[in-house]
């Protein structure tokens, strides 16, 4: 990643869309403009990492590593999804790989001990009283891989293919795990709040 000199944030650069900044970095060979993207995304990446790892120091360290990775992979960004989605998919991949490596994530074992006792009928659930806080609280109760799936699909709107690449599972596995994650959230919400 280039050393930032702090002089690229002029008004015209600041107004550029992400994709236009990338175009300038790559085609005009201006790596220093990555600072614009860094400033736009650093805190967002810190927050996403923190939401998985619950450690501010690690979140700061990892965010720098993740944005370095983003910079290195920039020539491979094809623009099939938005730049923000692409950055977040790299963020999720980094967090999930870290947790898998720490052996704190073993989805099959977790599933065995966290069977959904009864599949709720989504159409019959009364969710009118849901608040931001209780939806967030439920997301903390599901497995990190299920949480990542839900966020990638519904918050960051990544394609199934991108999610599959990020989690290193097949597309069919993504569809089925996403189904399970949704169902678990409905079940937990009903148990806790309905």
């Amino acid at each position: 990643m280039p050393v930032f000199m702090g002089n690229v944030q002029n008004e015209s650069n600041a107004r550029l869309k992400d994709e236009a900044v990338i175009e300038k970095i790559l085609s005009e060979n201006k790596p220093e403009l990555f600072e614009i993207l860094y400033r736009r995304y650093h805190q967002k990446v810190v927050d996403k990492v923190f939401s998985f790892l619950k450690n501010r120091k690690i979140a700061q360290e990892f965010s720098n590593d993740i944005l370095t990775k983003v910079y290195e992979k920039l020539p491979g960004f094809r623009g099939t999804s938005s730049f923000s989605s692409w950055v977040y998919s790299i963020t999720y991949n980094y967090c999930i790989d870290y947790l898998r490596l720490q052996k704190r994530l073993h989805y099959p074992d977790w599933n065995k001990t966290n069977v959904i006792p009864e599949i709720p009928d989504e159409s019959e659930e009364d969710l009118s009283g849901a608040t931001f806080e209780n939806v967030m609280a439920i997301l903390e109760l599901v497995h990190p891989e299920e949480k990542a799936l839900l966020l990638m699909k519904y918050q960051d709107q990544l394609s199934l293919k991108e999610i599959a690449q990020t989690l290193r599972v097949s597309e069919d596995a993504v569809k089925m795990r996403l189904k399970r994650a949704r169902t678990r959230v409905y079940y937990l919400y009903r148990e806790r709040y309905s």
Binding site: P108, E122, V135, L150, R168, V169, D172, A173, M176, V185
Partner: protein
Amino acid sequence: MTSIFHHFIPTNDFLPPEKIVQALYSLYGQLLNVEWFKEEEGYEAVFYHQDKECIACFNEEGELLVSKRNLPLSMVTPEVKREALAVGELMNLIEINRQGNFFYEIIARDKNLDRYSLLLERDGSLLEKRKL
């Protein structure tokens, strides 16, 4: 007004033509939480049947092309398990029924945590292996 819950986890209201919906219900009977998607070849339903996540793909005429079930790892057959364990630890098991021919898609990870997608026949013959 959309619930804040559905803001985070939106519902999918897409529905295919009635004959496709009928085809699904006549094949499976009671099922839950069906989501429909338009695919190149026709329509795909993702749903719960007998407490398992399932996928069913239909062509435009309502004929079933393929169905899939997400199975617990304990349901793997000995032949398929033997082949998969040669690659690594089993992480996911999907049964594929292509007009009466059964296949298994397995995700296995080796000791370096590299993950592979394997496609096997019922007798354990390995048809495809790719690194994920």
